[in-house]
Each structure stands twice: as structure tokens, then as C-alpha cells.
């Protein structure tokens, strides 16, 4: 079961990464090349298997080139959220009571906003744009990582094997570095791979709202936004980017599920 999940998620992510690195392998079209004569071709048109959009751009090519920004968004936001979150969680978990209370209060406040709302809040401060969206989503993810890390550190710090290495005479710093942190990182890895999928959906949501990259960047959320006007004539314009987002998110969830057992 979990081996199947790993295989499927590997397949999805392998294809996405390949598309992000070498999009020309998958398509001969330029995703920005508009061709008004060939606008809104239906699915299955010769040369444009998934059809074309309102400017005559090839939908498949735009999907392939969109993988880069989706993956960049997912991994980038995850890197920000995980790094800062883990460090803050470490401080809260290992620091004194005072620091723990302070940080915990902060996490509580941040936690009371839904992630996406928090990201929206950040982007209103930072301004629209694809890098800003990435940073905003990353920041919005910090409290979940910090919370998890803090809890794990607390749990492991009081566990019997850490107590027993204290009793063996292992110095405090070695204990933290060798026993506490590595054991806490397992669950963090699971959250990180879940978060990649979440960040991709959030990123698409922000650009759907016009807060992400500017047109004509090939981006799945933007493609969805543009497809709204043509929903009745060309439903494929909305369907395919939507499927791509779902697939990327599903790949990350499946990966998280398959590593969960080993990580914990």
C-alpha cells in the first residue's frame, strides 16, 4: 500500500520536476507565443491536443511551463516556513519558560488566522508579485512548523532514552544535537512534504486573485482566472490547470503518507 503511494507520488513529482527543468522536452511551443487566428481551439485539435486559449496560446505548453513556478512556489515557501519554524520551535522547546511562553503566545496569535488569510495579510503588506506571494505563504506556514517542532522537542526531551543518556553522562549540547533534534525532525519531514502541496494550492489561489505573478506568465492560478470568461465555450481552459494543481497537491500528500511510517 505505502509502496504504491510512494511509486505514484514519485511518478507525479518526477514528471513535474522534469517539466520544470526541461520544459522543451515536453512541448515544441512557446507558452508566450500568441496566435489570434488559432484562438480558442477545442480539445483534440491537430497540433494543439489540449486546445488553445483566448490568445491562441497552446494550453499544454502553458501547463508544462507553469510547472516551474508551481514547484518553485511549493519548495520555496516550504523552505522558508520549515527553516524559520524549526528554529523558532527549537528555541521555544529548549529555551527557558519565559521564552517559551513568549513564543507560544506569538504562535497562538498567528495560529488563530487561517493560513491563507495570513498569507493574504502578508501580501497586502508586501505588495503583489510572485516572489512576494512565495514569501507570504512561507511566513504563513511558520506557526505550524514551530508548533510541531516545539511539541516534539518537549516530548523527546522528557523521553526515557534522553533521560538515560543524561544519566550516562552525555553532555547537554551533544544530547540535543545527537538525540533530541534528529528524532524531532521525522514528523517535521512529513509536515514539510504536506506543506509543499498546500503551498502550491495557496500560490495558485493568490495568483487567481491577481496577487501573484503578472500576466502573461504561464502560471496555473492565472490560467484558471483567465478561463472564467470562456467557461461555457472552452471548459478545458479551466479543467486542465485545475487538474494540474490537484495532481501536484495529491503527489505531495501521497509522498507524506508514504514516508510517515519511517519518519515516525
Amino acid at each position: 500500500m505505502s509502496r504504491n503511494q510512494l511509486a505514484i507520488s514519485g511518478l507525479i513529482w518526477g514528471a513535474l520536476v522534469l517539466a520544470a527543468l526541461f520544459p522543451a522536452l515536453f512541448t515544441g511551443y512557446d507558452p508566450l507565443q500568441s496566435n489570434p487566428i488559432a484562438a480558442l481551439k477545442p480539445i483534440g485539435t491537430e497540433g494543439h491536443l489540449l486546445g488553445t486559449d483566448y490568445l491562441g496560446r497552446d494550453v499544454w505548453a502553458r501547463l508544462v511551463y507553469g510547472a516551474r513556478s508551481a514547484i518553485g512556489m511549493g519548495l520555496g515557501a516550504m523552505a522558508i516556513a520549515a527553516t524559520v519554524g524549526v528554529l523558532l520551535g527549537l528555541l521555544a522547546g529548549l529555551g527557558g519558560k519565559w521564552l517559551d511562553n513568549l513564543l507560544n503566545g506569538l504562535f497562538d496569535i498567528l495560529f488563530s488566522f487561517p493560513d491563507l488569510l495570513l498569507a493574504l495579510l502578508m501580501i497586502t503588506m508586501l505588495g503583489a508579485g510572485s516572489l512576494n506571494a512565495l514569501v507570504a505563504i512561507g511566513i504563513a506556514g511558520i506557526p505550524s512548523f514551530a508548533r510541531l517542532m516545539r511539541g516534539e522537542i518537549r516530548r523527546i526531551r522528557n523521553s526515557e532514552f534522553v533521560q538515560s543518556s543524561v544519566a550516562l553522562g552525555v553532555p547537554r549540547f551533544t544530547n540535543i544535537w545527537r538525540h533530541i533534534i534528529p528524532n524531532a525532525l521525522g514528523p517535521v519531514a512529513v509536515l514539510a512534504s504536506l506543506f509543499v502541496g498546500r503551498a502550491i494550492t495557496y500560490g495558485a489561489s493568490l495568483s487567481f486573485l491577481g496577487l501573484g505573478p503578472a500576466r502573461p506568465t504561464p502560471e496555473w492560478g492565472l490560467m484558471l482566472a483567465d478561463a472564467q470568461l470562456y467557461l461555457s465555450m472552452a471548459p478545458g481552459l479551466a479543467l486542465f490547470p485545475g487538474l494540474a494543481i490537484t495532481l501536484a497537491a495529491a503527489g505531495s500528500v501521497l509522498f507524506a503518507r508514504s514516508i510517515r511510517r519511517t519518519a515516525e
Partner: protein, 561 residues
């Protein structure tokens, strides 16, 4: 036995099993239980004895249809309450469970839903099977609780399982199994996690239920415990019944080597200090470099006026240790006995300086220990080592045996180049083969893990060993091997050992001097023989009386030598 029922009719067995075989399927099927036959009549108790992996729990679970579907089960005869239960549907099992057969698990804390009160847990069985009018169910629950000796059932049943002590929880669990008045009760290690005196009360309770006409299947690894209740015993080893028959006959005249080994491994039967197991011990020479050579004559550990209390969530304080003083002399094994909640574990933590005492202090070889700041203490920690009850929890789950030992050797200043040779020497010293060196603790047996824990403790070349219930989680035969190993290590190295246990027979076997702890105080202290032959404190008397004795030698065992 059959007084309640008409003696003219032959009593129909509640359970009749012939040729029960349980296999784990797959390409190469593994036989977990093989050709097992037994029957249980009303008012009769069958004891199923065996070590872990013997198939005893699988057998008991088969009787309520709880085994996982991947296990293939077959039998020539499998009658429960006169009906054939081979290949019946889940709904038939469900109708049987709780009403006709009650099941008591070992872990009473895990068996209850932490969010619900004892009362609603018990009532659920009655509601689920629609037993009696809804209005009368409350009374039935109270009755069941009264029957198991649960104090003030009307009031205390409103508590949750985690608010009860281990003994009360186990009573509540038995009450939940008998609330619908089943005719057969299956008890799988019902006393294993309990103190001896609570165990004795639970056994009395099982005895009463048996006398009231209930059929009983008592599953345990402990032959002595089973023999106090069971009329017949089945001794299982690796899925087969190696011996079965009336209890007294099996105990007095064991026909099979395995049964003899089980009986010999019990510390309460062996002469004090004698070998308990026939498994070969490592040669004394491997302990050469572990010998204790410290100068001076101060006691190894010296505790004076220790006090420790904890603050409960509601703000009240509870005293765990109240004014305890003792000396652990160099080279002696000092036993510390007490029930759960007596403060033993707090004494362990204080000795290891894992918690600070509120008052008083402990000195290590005449030098300050608990009063030192942690920075200075870390350097001295190698001198005193702990062997915990659960070795699995005491190891970093990601570390192999090699890394576990290397870490400790590095602290002890052994150069990295010698780690491998030293690790092999230590493994040999605790009777482990070299192949285990790259194994993770979770892939080893309980006995192997405990040996690794001992090897790791020895790696720091300690002078004091604190053993916190080191054998209570182990099978009897493995327990015997570990006890033999500890006494060999003690003899060869001259270590001082503080040995904590709830099992008086183990302590009596190993220790020269014994302290009895009760409610945070040391109520009695003296040589082991003295304590057994000349009991002063009522609590000690209770503890001694509670040691389960094998039917036949009830008079011979712990009386004066």
C-alpha cells in the same frame, strides 16, 4: 465444583476445542498454534501458561473471534456453549462477546476510553446488547462493580480510567467483562502489570468468580500465579501444548523438560543465590577491565533525610518521598521493595540525580552528588549507572547497538580505534553474540535488549549500578538468565548495586540487605532472611503473604529456612 447445578446431569463444557491450529498465511505458512485441545466446564479454571510467542494469547483471542483475518484458523472441533463456532459470521461473534464471554486484557489503561467515565464504559456493554430494561441497567453496573470489590461504586464510577490506581482500574476492567453475567471469563495476563498485593486481591476475585460457577480461562506467563487458581493447566511452548493436566500433577511431576525449566526459573523456588537458569554464563575473565578499584571507605551511596514532593495540576502537593535515609555499602546488593506509588521510582530518579530533592542530599562515595551543579555532575555520571525496566524506551530508536555503545565509550575516553574491540568484549560479557552489533534495539528480543542495556551501563566502568525493576517486563526463563548475569557481574566486578523491585522473591534471591518502602517511607530494613523470618511491619507481612505460591510448596516456600 458442580454444586450449583444439578449433579445428576453431566455438565456440558462451555468450551470444547480439539486440534486447534492457527497459521499465518502466505507462501510459507507459519504455524503459530498447533493441534491444541482443551475444554472448560462451568466453575472450572483452565490455566494457559507460556512465554511470549508461545501462542497463548492467540488461543485466547480465538475463543472470542478477535484474531486478525490474515490468521488462518482450523480445528476438528471448536464448540462454544454447545454451538459449533468454526467459520461463523462476525455478527455471531458479536452476539457472543460481552454477553456469554467476558474478556479481560492486561493493559487496563488502554482498554478504557479516556474520555468516558467508568460508569458509561460499563453501561455500554448492556446497551449494546440490549440486556434488561434500560431503567435497570444502572443497578446492574453498580452490582458488577460491587462484586469486584470496587469501593463506593455509586460515586467513584463517575471517575475516568486514568484517575484510578492500577488495581482499581483492573477491577473496573473485570467488572466491565462480567457486567452482562457471562458464563465464561477469559483473563489474558490480568495481573502482570500489578503489584504483588493487588495481584493477590485480583486472584482472590477470580477465585470467587470461579466458585460462583463461572468458567475461567487464565492466560499468564507466570506458572506460580496460574497455579493458585487453575484446576487444569496447559503449558505452551512455540505453539504446542508441551504438557497438560491437573495443576497439582503438572507442578509436582512435570513430565516435560520445558515445564521443569519454567519451574526451576522461579526465584521463589530456588535456594538463595543459586543459579536460576542453565544457560551458559560468560567467563569471569571478560570482566577484568570492569573491576571496581576506588579507594576510601565511604559508602557507595549515602542518602540523608531525602524529601521530594510533586505539585498536582490542582495545586495540591503530594509527598512521594518522606524523610528517607539509607547507605548503599561498597560491594553490596541492596534491595528496595515496595508497591506502585510507594516512592521507589522517585528514589531511582534522586539517586541518578535526574530530579533534585526538596530537602536532604545523596553523597556518592562520600562526595557531594545531588547538591552539585549539573555541569560538574556530568563528569561524574559515568560512575553511577541505571538499568531501566523498559530497555527499548531507554535507547535512541535510530541507534544501532554499535552506536549506542560507541557513544558511551567515547564519554569514557576510550579512543575511537578501540571502540570495536571494546564493544565486542562488552557484548561477550553480557552473553550476546557479535552479530547483534549492527541491529536496532526494536529488532531484538526483550532479553537481548536488557543485556544491551547492561552492556551499555558497564561501558562507562561504573562503580554503582541502580537497577529499576530490570526483570519485571521479561519472561520467567529470560528473567532467570538476567538475574544470573547480574549476580555474576556483581561477583566479578565488585560493583555496588541498588536493586529496586516489586517482587519480593526476586529481591530475596539476589540481595543481602533489603529495605521495604511504603507510602514514601522506609518501613523496614534488614537482611533478607531477617525480613522474611521476622516480619515487623504489617505492610511487609502483606507483601510476603501476597507472593503467589505454587500449590504444592505453599507451606515450604518462604517460611524460615
Amino acid at each position: 465444583m458442580t454444586t450449583v447445578l444439578s449433579s445428576a446431569l453431566p455438565v456440558e463444557p462451555l468450551v470444547r476445542v480439539e486440534g486447534l491450529t492457527i497459521e499465518l498465511g502466505g507462501r510459507k505458512p507459519v504455524r503459530l498454534v498447533q493441534d491444541l485441545s482443551f475444554s472448560i466446564r462451568p466453575g472450572e479454571c483452565l490455566g494457559l501458561v507460556g512465554e511470549s510467542g508461545s501462542g497463548k494469547s492467540l488461543t485466547s483471542r480465538a475463543l472470542i473471534g478477535l484474531n486478525a483475518p490474515v490468521l488462518r484458523q482450523s480445528a476438528r472441533r471448536f464448540d462454544i456453549l454447545g454451538h459449533d463456532f468454526r467459520a461463523v459470521s462476525e455478527s455471531r461473534w458479536q452476539a457472543l462477546r460481552g454477553t456469554a464471554i467476558g474478556y479481560v486484557l492486561q493493559d487496563a489503561l488502554g482498554a478504557f476510553d479516556p474520555l468516558r467515565s467508568i460508569f458509561s464504559e460499563l453501561r455500554e456493554t448492556l446497551d449494546a446488547h440490549r440486556i434488561g430494561p434500560a431503567s435497570g441497567r444502572r443497578g446492574k453496573v453498580v452490582q458488577a462493580l460491587e462484586r469486584v470489590g470496587f469501593p463506593e461504586p455509586e460515586v467513584r464510577a463517575r471517575q475516568h480510567s486514568w484517575q484510578l490506581s492500577g488495581g482499581l482500574r483492573q477491577r473496573a476492567l473485570i467488572a466491565s467483562a462480567i457486567v452482562a453475567s457471562p458464563r465464561l471469563l477469559i483473563a489474558d495476563e490480568p495481573t502482570t502489570a500489578l503489584d504483588v498485593n493487588i495481584q493477590a486481591r485480583i486472584i482472590d476475585l477470580l477465585q470467587e468468580l470461579k466458585q460462583a460457577g463461572m468458567g475461567l480461562l487464565f492466560v499468564s506467563h507466570d506458572l506460580a500465579v496460574v497455579s493458585t487458581v487453575a484446576d487444569h493447566v496447559v503449558v505452551m511452548n512455540e505453539g504446542r501444548a508441551v504438557e497438560q493436566g491437573p495443576t497439582a500433577q503438572v507442578l509436582e511431576n512435570p513430565a516435560h523438560d520445558y515445564t521443569r525449566m519454567l519451574i526451576a526459573a522461579m526465584p521463589s523456588r530456588a535456594p538463595v543465590g543459586a543459579r536460576l537458569s542453565s544457560v551458559a554464563l560468560p567467563p569471569g575473565s571478560v570482566f577484568q577491565s570492569s573491576r571496581v578499584r576506588s579507594a576510601g571507605d565511604a559508602p557507595a551511596l549515602s542518602a540523608r533525610g531525602l524529601h521530594k514532593s510533586y505539585i498536582l495540576p490542582d495545586g495540591s502537593r503530594v509527598g512521594a518521598v518522606l524523610d528517607v535515609s539509607f547507605d548503599l555499602q561498597r560491594g553490596e546488593i541492596l534491595g528496595l521493595v515496595g508497591g506502585s506509588g510507594s516512592g521507589k521510582s522517585t528514589i531511582v530518579k534522586l539517586c541518578m540525580a535526574l530530579v533534585e530533592p526538596d530537602e536532604g542530599e545523596i553523597a556518592l562515595f562520600g562526595q557531594p552528588w545531588t547538591s552539585l551543579p549539573e555541569k560538574q555532575r556530568t563528569a561524574r555520571r559515568p560512575r553511577i549507572q541505571l538499568i531501566a525496566q523498559d530497555p527499548l524506551g531507554a535507547f535512541d530508536p535510530r541507534f544501532t547497538v554499535r552506536r549506542l555503545l560507541a557513544e558511551v565509550l567515547a564519554i569514557g575516553g576510550v579512543p575511537a580505534g578501540e571502540h570495536d574491540a571494546e564493544t565486542r568484549r562488552l557484548l561477550a560479557a553480557v552473553g550476546l553474540r557479535d552479530e547483534l552489533i549492527d541491529r536496532l534495539p526494536r529488532n531484538m528480543s526483550g532479553g537481548q535488549r536488557q543485556r544491551v542495556a547492561i552492556a551499555r551501563a558497564l561501558a562507562t566502568r561504573p562503580e554503582v549500578l541502580v537497577c529499576d525493576e530490570p526483570v519485571s517486563a521479561l519472561d520467567v526463563s529470560v528473567q532467570a538468565q538476567i538475574l544470573d548475569l547480574l549476580s555474576l557481574i556483581h561477583r566479578e566486578t565488585g560493583l555496588s548495586i541498588l536493586f529496586i523491585s516489586h517482587d519480593l522473591s526476586v529481591v530475596r534471591h539476589l540481595c543481602g540487605r533489603v529495605m521495604v518502602m511504603h507510602k514514601g517511607e522506609i518501613v523496614e530494613e534488614g537482611t533478607a532472611e531477617d525480613i522474611f523470618s521476622n516480619v515487623r511491619h504489617p505492610y511487609t507481612r502483606e507483601l510476603i503473604a501476597a507472593i503467589p505460591r505454587m500449590g504444592a510448596d505453599a507451606t515450604a516456600a518462604p517460611a524460615a529456612p
